[in-house]
Structure formats: C-alpha cells, structure tokens
Symmetry: C2
Subunit: 697 residues, 2 copies
C-alpha cells in the first residue's frame, strides 16, 4: 500500500494542529510533534491495532510517548483517531481541568502510562512488552493467539541520555522482547541546544550492544515508505527489540526548524501563517482538520472496531473451549482477587519463633504464589537477600536461553533499581498482573523517579525493600537508610509499611494487594524479630493500633518494625518501675491517616505524651508524637546488635528517654497531635487534584 | 620491567589477606578482592603515583573502588603501601569504630570517595578526571606540568548495570577524558548468580559507543604483563577514556572459585587452608605479609615519597615564577574563600522589582563568577530554565570540539541528573573546586543516590533546583514536586534552602559557600517573587527568622519561598480584621535547627499557635507548627496562578485557615514545638556517628 497525497495531508494536519495548540495555550512544545508527525501518522494509520470505541481492549497495541513533553502530538492523534478528545478539548491544552494536561497522564483515555519525566516511558514500554510475553504464554492456546500485541514507543535524545533508559533497554535486549519497537526521534536538539554539546555517542552501536536490532530512516521528515519499511523489518526479528532511528527536523516547516528555538515555546503568529501556507492550509484558519483527513482516519477507526470484533469472536470461542482460562483472564483483568485468597496469609502467635521480616515476607510470597498467579516478582540482583523468589518460581526468560520461560513469573532485573520501578509500572499498566520487586530499602531511592510515578499513576506495584535500617549492620552507612522512610511517607498515594512481626507482615501484604490504585513499599528487616503479643492482621490493617495497653497510661510509645519489640521490652521495664505505658505500633502512616479521626484519637488520646522510637530520621513523626528517639545522623558499619547498643536503641535506652518524657510532661497534659484546627485543606474529591481515583479509569 | 616471583607473592598475599580478613570478621566479600588482586598489584606497584606519607598530595593519581563491597582489597593495599592501616586495623574490618568499615568512606585516609552504592564510584571517577583536566588547564604553565594525574577506577558487573554509570561514562566519552582508566572486573558473577541471567550485553561495544577506548585482558588471574601492557596502551589515547576489561575468576584459589558462593560470605576454614597451601603460605598462620613482599612494597613507598619531593621542588620554582597562581592554588586547596568575597552578594530592598528566585540565583552566580573561580557549574540540559550559566562563562569542553576549553567552568551534563550528582561529588573530592549543578527540583530525585552520598561524605556541592513547586504551572504533576522538600530535609547533613526573595537567595548562597562539609540544595521558583520588607542576608542566614512581627501575636504563620509573600499579604488581611500575626520565614530547616534553643524559641515562643504554609507535603512541618496548610496530593497542569488559586494558596485562602487556627486555640495556649523533653539523642561528636566532621580529613 503506497502513500499518497492524503498521507502527506494527514502529516501536515498534525503539524499545523501542533502549532495551533501550543500557540493558543501559550505553553508547550511544538517542535517535536511537528518533527514526529510522519512516523506518528504511519504508525497510527498503517500499523497499530486499536479500537477507539474501547480504549481498554486487552490486545490493543500499546503506544508510549516517552518524550512526553511532545504530548500535543498524542492528543492530536487521539482526536484524529476517534477517541473522546474534541477540537475544543485540544484548545484547553495545559489549562485547568483540561483533558489535555502538560504531560500525558495514565488516567486519560487512550494514554497507557504517564510520561514526561525523561527515560521513564521507554522503560514502561519494556514493562508492557514483558507483560505481553508473559500473558501470551499464560493464556494463549493452540489456535487461539489471544494476546499478541506490539508495544510502540517514541523516544527522544533526552530519554536516551537518562540512565533509567539505559538500564531498561539493556534488560529488554537480554529478554529478547521482539515485540517492542521504539522510534528514536533523532533531531539533534535538546534544551541546551545542539546535542553536540553533551550527547555525541553512537546511539545505534550502543543499543545494538544491548542486543537490539537497529535501523535508520534517514529522512524522517517525508520518507513515509521508509518508515513503514523499517517497521516491517523490525517485525522480522522476533527475538530482538528494535530501535528505529528516525532522523527528523524539529519543528519541520517553521522558519526556525531544526533549532532549539522551536523546542519549548510557541511559534510566532507569522511563522504559523507561513507554515500553513507552505503546507497548503489557510493561514487565517486555526485548528483545521481537512475533510479528506477525517475521511481517511475514519477508515482506520472502522478497521480498529472490526479488529476488536474479530478478537471478541475469537475470545468467545476460546471461552467455550477454555472456560477456566477465560474466566481467569477476565478475573485478572478486572483486578478481582480470587475469593478467600487472604486465607493463605500466615498468622502467628507469640509462641512462634523470632523471624526476620524479610523472611516473613518470603513465607507470604510462597503461600500466595499459587493462589495469586497475577503476582509477577523479581529483584534487582538481590534475590538471596530480599528473599523474593518462592521455591516454586520459574524465571521469566526467553525460552532459548534454557534458564526460564515466558510463562515464568520471576524477573531477574539485574542491578537496575530505577528501571525495575519503571518496568513494574509498565507491567501494572498492561493489566492482569501485580508486580513486586526487591532491593535494599536504601536503594529504592535510586528508583525515586519511578516510585513517584507509581503513586501519581495509581499503579499497584509492591516494593519488597529489605535491610531496612542500621539493622543491616556491617554494610554500614552507605547502605543504611536514614531519610528513606520520611521520603516515601511524604509521597502522596503511597503506602510505606514497616511491619513489626509476622502478623503485621501479612497485614501489609493484605492491604497492599487489596488496594488497587496505590503502590506499596514494604520495609523489611534483615534481623530476626519476635512475634508480638497483641498483634493481628486485622489490627495492623488499620496502619496503626494499640499493641499493648494499660489503664490510664502516663506515656505512649509509638514505633515501627524492628523497634517495636524493643519498645515492648522497654514498656515492661518501665512498668516494673511503676510507670504505665501504652505501646502503639504504626506499620503504615498512610493507612492510619485514612482511618476516622475518632479512631486516630483513640490511639493517640488527648493528655498523654507520646514518644516515637524508630532508627531513622524523626522527620515527620511529630505529626503523631511529642518527643522523638530517632536518628539525626548517618549510621555506622558494625554487627547490628552493636550498632543498636552503641546508639542506645535498647530497652534501657528507650526507657531512659521515656522517663525524661514522663518527667517533662508531669505537670502538663499535652494535646493529641492527631487533632487539628482544620482538616480538609481543599476539596480533593474526583477532579484534577484527586489522587484516590488515579489509575481507576 | 618484567614480573617475577615476588609479584606473584604480592598478588597471593593480597588474596590470603582478603580471605583472612573476611573470615575473621565473619562478614564481607572475599571473592572480588581475590579476583582483582593481580590488577590491583600491577596498578599500585607499577603504575600509580602516590605518597602514603601525604595522602592528600595534590597531584597523586586517584584510585576509586567503584565496586566498594570489595573494600577488603582497598584496606589491604593501604596497609601494604604504608598508609596508616596496621594489621591490627585489618582485623577490625566491619567492627564498631573500625578504620576499615563495610564500604570505603571518604573520610578515611587514602580513600578518595565513599563507594558501595553501585555505579557511583565510576562516576565520581569521571568527576575526578574532569577536575584534573580543569585544574591542569587553569594552573599549569609552560615547563610546569603541576597537575597531570591519572584517575583509576575498578568497576564490577553491578556498577556497569546501573544507569548512573551509563550516564557518567557517556559523558566521559563525550568529554574525551583520556586520563581516566577503568578496569572492568569481568568475573561473570553477581549476587543472583551468573551474569547470564540478566547481563548479557556486549559491554565493550557499548562503552566503545560512548567514545571510549576498550581493551581486553583475557587472563586477569595471572597475566600481569598483559595488565601492564593494557595500562600502557590505555595511555596511548589521550583523547579517550579507557575501559580495560579484565576477565577474572572471582575468589581465585578458593575451591568455590568462579561461583557466587565466594561473593558475599567468608570462605570456610578448610578452604582457606587449602588456598594458603596452594599459594605457598603456611595454612596455620593468619594475616601474613611475607618479608619479601614488605621489602618489595617498601621500594614503591620510597619511590612515592621521592615523586612528591620532586613535585614539591617543581611547585617551589612555580611559586617563584607564578606566585599569584601558586597562592591561588593553595587558597583553593585549603578551601579558603577570598577575603571579602561576600561583598559581591546582591542586596535588595522592598522597592526592587519582583523577580523569580531562579533569576535571583543567576544574578548571584553572575556576580560571584569572577570572584570565586573555584565555582564550576552546569546543568542537566536545562541551562535556559535553571539560569545556571553566567554570561561570561565558557563551556568546559575538549578544545578540539571548538565549543569550549578545559579551563571552561560550565559543564553541559546532558539529561543525566544522577550522574551530574555523582560527578559533582568527584569534582568536590578532587579539591580546589566547588561544583554546582542545575535541574528542576523534581528531578533532583533522580539523583537521590548521589545526593545522600554528598551528605554522607561531606562534599560541598550545590544543587540549583529550579521550578520548585506547583508554581511551575503548565508542565503539571509529573514535574511538580510534592514530597521533594520533605525527602531532602530528612537527609542528615544536607541544607535545603528555599529562599523567599533576593536577600534570602543571597543568604542561601552565602551559607552554602561558607559551609565546607555540607552540601546544599537551593529550591528556586520559576515565578516572580516580591522583595520582602524585613528580609536580610544576616537574618536569613539563621535558617529561620521573624520576617514580620507584632506585639503579642495571636498566630505565627511560618512559610518558605514563593509562599512567604502570599503569607505576608494574608497577615495584612488578618491585621485589617484586628488579628495579630507574626510571619516567620524558614528558608532552611537544617540551619535553623543548628541555632541555639533560645533563638529557636524566640522565633516560635510558647503559647502561640503556629501554622505552616507551603505548597508541598506537610510532612515534617509539625516539628515547628501546630497546623498545616500544605498539599497532601499531586498537583495539576495549568498556568501557575490558576493552580495557586484553585488550591486556595492565596492571601484569602491562607487567612481562612489562619482564622480557623486562631479560633481553635482561643482557649488554649499551645506549647512551642521547638521545646523538647530531651535533645541529645546520643553522643554524636567526633567518632563514627559524627556527620559534622565528614569530609574534614
């Protein structure tokens, strides 16, 4: 099928719309959409399978705009191809309450993942492609290729400079993700000007070294045949992802085309006028989609509806022949956990052995692994330390490597924390899967960019973050988190669990798995922790609760994780001296903050001083407690019990500070910290500021 | 010079010591030190210039152990080559108060940078090599090659998988850092087992694509000649950094050599015995350094002392011929700022125009640029947004690119935030330079791993973090930091400035530049900010101060940055309604926390309710304020004034919450939040837990 004038018209419609959109909003990036219009038009019009009437069709091809600042392009495509984006919507680009925000957000129709932070999108695409391989291997049956979609991704120079992209692309090469096809918008321009100032590597050679197939379209501004031929050639190597380098002119058509001047600010009115004239558009009209273009894209829209209808027929037949698989697929895509799954969660009593919470986590994962086949785990090369791999697991690997299979559910991420986070976001976005990944808590910080996008996008992703404190001992301060809990507790829509024992570990997984649009980070100990009197899955599921109580307490000590057991012993010591101490366990601030004010006040009542004990920064604790026994400095390398002793995180050390607190508040009854003069800062229900609804499209 | 038996003896001494050290401490990594012993012995004995009697000799070759978990190797080398590490010190490996902690720490004698978090060290090495090129170009004169050291770095598979390493190595290739020579310990083993499970790329091809020279020593276990020849060949390409891939056997000599079993746990006693027998050592003796080895290394130690003596002669002559340059070099290496430098800091009065604090920062940098030639700046491809490049700046680039010069002081980092942080740590570690680097505040999070190492190591590094809030507007929630200030405020030994106007911006730079062993992050606005009545450099330098006061206030409103001006207007509004409001500006929590308790209490006195106003997470504010008007959700894409209005961060919105606070505390006088039952958690003076002294060796 050859390209004709209408294809060129389509390309230039995209270009003129991009110029109009950014000019109208006086904000945004016109250059990249104009440069990428040819590849976008070929991809959407000739190659991609999608049905705008059902943007969530399971087997649709996925499209990720990794250079998310070019999102005017994406909104234009969504408009042209029949998604629920009107011309009026395009006119609201980057304005309050717009459907077309400054960067693509996952909760929008037709947008797979939230992009903009550079490097993330291409790695989300790797995750989407992993999910496709895995779901295909799990659910396809002879004669029923239910799942076989491609993942397409546009990346720019910025993405390719980011380390997270290097990590993720290296993983994709190793995993032989042949259905991942990325287009590199090689336009030689970044914000600082020409790429010659900082980015002079041989990108194709580098990506080839990762095990990718690379191709080059030299004239990406008009060689539509070349672009289509490259896509076809990309599909000829099913064992290799492909990078198609498409050399383009940023802002093609503008008088400043090819310069950094068209990157991040609107084109001038007379520039837009000459551009329209040059492309055969009326310079006085704005936001024009010529009828022949509408007619043309309508054919593709119709073809998409037919494609899904055919697929639905296939699925109907599959449902008859493989009814169990079909209903399982539906269950998983609907994010319904199997009835009674939670009965598999282990329950402990104080008689049980002291066990490290990383080990307790392993037990949970092992018990849930067969019950929840949607769990797909992994580790950033710390499997034996994170204990993330149940014995029965099979690695997710290309079958030809003979060390795993596509249906395997354990991903060897390599020492690539940031891309593990971004891959998990992609897996979550695909649907039907709940990813978890392990590393040391301290190194989740390497992935901070991906973690905040999990939270912003509402991806149900679980971080198994072991070695969660100075309790890791000998590895020392480079590996001992101090600020890390505070960092992640401050992220909206993110649970940060730090369970104190077996029941709390089960509770952490229970809430993490039941909460569909909130990611979780589980901070787990290297060292053994006793099973506590008074803990239960139910109580811990409230995020904070009274673990040990007395009548009329003179002090509350609140703590988390490995310090709770120490606090319980301190309380006993204090009680033996005639003091009355309540012990509160606070495994997750986020979940506790979502309890009713009455419940929160029942845990931290008025008039009782409260003291926190946690071997990390006190930062943030003062919202619950008046006094703090925490760390305001980095840790030290030594066996963990010696570190705790040196820092006085012992029952005696806690009791010493508890006594000072009791003494200090002897004559005053402090108000509870959980009571406030005002609580609702501003309406944050459904709407642009809602986080609760994120991911729930 | 050929290698003889004593060289082999030296190699095996290192191997047996590594086995002994880890076995004695029952913790650590014996395998990599044993595998890297040959390359280490060739490098230290035959190649590197250093003088153990003066570990801080300016022109010493730098050595970075990027795979820091192999640090037993480094401590052994420091012992063998005459640094202040005794055999007894080696026996305390990974124990409390040891000179030989679990990973190398920069404050230790002979250790250039803190390593362990994978990928950081190789990029620190890039920074060290940048610093060398720059200092050489700045201070060398005809006949006086004062500065011409090499930077050597050992990296493992783990480092090479990390994205930060990819970023930094790409930059090093672009910058043609020919005096950077890295050794890749190609041992095929990581924690998850064989690298075949996740790391199958062609490392040499990838690194060559960055513009590096690559070499391969196939038998790194015993081919000492091959290693030496490779180093010599590496030096033959002065325009390219070199990666020498050295194929080794992890745990060479152990019965489990070449397996993951020798990676992270001690060898068994009988394994150590057979190893010693095999290498001709007495299996019953431990921690043995044969006399012939001591005699051999003594020659190198002597040669090092002579090398420095020669250099000192050269410097003495230089001092006579170039006395100004010599005293400037001494001043800079001693970290003494030039007298009166602070007079260049701009001062503002309320009559001056409203200006964005990123622009105020540009003015400071422009005024200081000639006064402080030790400033070496850059941006992660956001120069025009961060405003980090003074007009008079010249780019730091290889001269043959014709776009800058080695003496240039502006680094084009590319879109590589994480490596920018790690490079800045390396530049700081070199000495004589104070690096600063720009990106959006939200993307400093990409560099969290490097930022915490700045703080842990006490590097004086300045982050120019612009677009610091929802105030960036249209780019939307993907770019609007919410948790970011809380995250970095929780890091020990890190200043997080968020200046409210011109005087506060000058104060932030003043304190950042005067504080030698604490990094700073400057959070700066995109939008214009008024010059405030009551601000001054002196007051703001306390980190928090009363900006606007009244007698007997009924409310304190504390705020930072762009919200302070809004709060001042809210205070006026409230005063017009008969309320008495004190406004506190809190540009840096860290600096405020270091003021006397009396001063802190004078700002936040007992009995007056305090409310915070800041357009980020409230997390952490409760240590100062009772009530909080902050954000507990992500932002939104829209013009910034509309975002502020929608979220009610307006004088009226602040006043509304202020009134609720005044009403709520009408009948109770809350205690000041800065008073505590106990303050000193544990002794943190000089010693392993001290952070104040970090970097001050």
């Amino acid at each position: 099928m050859t390209f004709t004038e209408v294809d060129e018209r389509l390309v230039n419609t995209i270009r003129t719309l991009a110029a109009d959109i950014v000019a109208k909003s006086k904000s945004g990036h016109p250059g990249a959409p104009m440069g990428m219009a040819p590849m976008a038009s070929v991809l959407f019009n000739r190659v991609m399978n999608f049905n705008p009437a059902n943007p969530n069709w399971l087997n649709r091809d996925r499209f990720v705009l990794s250079n998310g600042h070019a999102c005017a392009l994406q909104y234009i495509l969504l408009h042209l191809y029949g998604y629920n984006y009107s011309i009026e919507d395009l006119k609201t680009f980057r304005q309050l309450n717009s459907k077309c925000p400054g960067h693509p957000e996952a909760e929008l129709e037709g947008v797979e993942v939230t992009t903009g932070p550079l490097g993330q999108g291409i790695v989300n695409a790797v995750g989407l492609a992993i999910a496709e391989r895995h779901m295909a291997a799990t659910f396809n049956r002879p004669g029923y290729e239910l799942i076989n979609n491609y993942t397409y991704c546009f990346v720019g120079d910025g993405c390719l400079m980011e380390g997270v992209a290097s990590e993720g692309m290296a993983l994709a090469g190793h995993l032989q993700l042949g259905k991942l096809i990325a287009f590199y918008d090689d336009n030689h321009i970044t914000i600082d000007g020409d790429t010659d100032v900082a980015f002079t590597e041989d990108v194709e050679a580098r990506v080839k070294a990762y095990g990718w197939h690379t191709l080059h379209v030299k004239n990406g501004d008009s060689d539509l045949n070349g672009i289509l031929a490259a896509i076809e050639e990309a599909k000829s190597t099913p064992d290799m992802p492909t990078l198609i380098r498409v050399t383009t002119t940023i802002g093609y058509g503008s008088v400043n085309a090819g310069t950094h001047g068209v990157h991040g600010s609107p084109l001038k009115p007379d520039d837009i006028a000459q551009l329209k004239t040059k492309f055969g558009f009326d310079p006085n009209e704005k936001f024009v989609v010529p009828t022949e273009v509408t007619d043309y894209t309508a054919k593709k829209i119709k073809a998409g509806a037919e494609a899904e209808a055919q697929w639905n027929n296939l699925f109907e037949k599959y449902s008859k022949e493989y009814s169990k698989e079909a209903s399982e697929l539906i269950r998983r895509c609907n994010k319904k956990l199997p009835a009674g799954w939670e009965k598999a969660l282990p329950v402990y009593s104080p008689k049980d052995d002291a066990v490290a919470s990383r080990k307790l986590s392993e037990t949970v994962l092992t018990k849930l692994y067969d019950v929840l086949p949607e769990l797909i785990g992994g580790s950033a090369d710390l499997t034996g330390s994170n204990l993330t791999r149940p014995n029965q697991a099979i690695d997710f690997q290309p079958p030809n490597l003979k060390i795993g299979e596509w249906a395997g559910r354990y991903v060897r991420y390599g020492v690539r924390e940031h891309s593990m986070g971004a891959v998990m976001n992609g897996i979550s976005a695909y649907g039907g899967l709940i990813p978890y990944g392990g590393t040391f808590l301290n190194f989740v910080s390497y992935a901070a960019g991906a973690v905040r996008l999990s939270a912003l996008s509402g991806h149900q992703v679980i971080w198994v973050a072991t070695h969660d404190s100075i309790g890791l001992g000998e590895d020392g301060p480079t590996h001992q988190p101090i600020e890390t809990l505070a960092h992640f507790r401050a992220v909206p829509n993110l649970m940060v669990w730090r369970p104190a024992d077996g029941n709390e570990t089960s509770a952490a997984y229970k809430v993490a798995l039941e909460t569909q649009h909130t990611p979780s980070l589980l901070a787990l100990s290297r060292q053994n922790l006793p099973q506590l009197e008074g803990s239960s899955i139910e109580k811990a599921s409230k995020g904070g609760y009274v673990l040990h109580d007395v009548e009329n307490p003179s002090l509350i000590i609140a703590s988390t994780g490995s310090e709770v057991g120490i606090v319980v012993d301190a309380a006993k010591l204090l009680e033996s001296q005639g003091h009355r101490v309540r012990v509160v366990s606070m495994p997750d601030f986020y979940t506790f903050d979502n309890q009713s004010p009455e419940y929160q006040l029942s845990v931290f009542p008025d008039g009782v001083p409260a003291m926190s004990v946690e071997v990390q920064s006190a930062f943030g604790w003062s919202k619950y407690t008046h006094e703090h026994f925490n760390l305001d400095h980095f840790g030290v390398s030594a066996p963990y019990d010696q570190v705790y002793a040196a820092l006085e995180f012992t029952p005696e050390g806690v009791a010493k500070r508890a006594l000072k607190t009791i003494e200090y508040y002897k004559s005053s009854k402090p108000a509870s910290r959980v009571k406030h003069a005002f609580t609702h800062l501003v309406q944050t229900g459904p709407g642009p500021f809602s986080t609760r609804e994120r991911g729930a499209k």
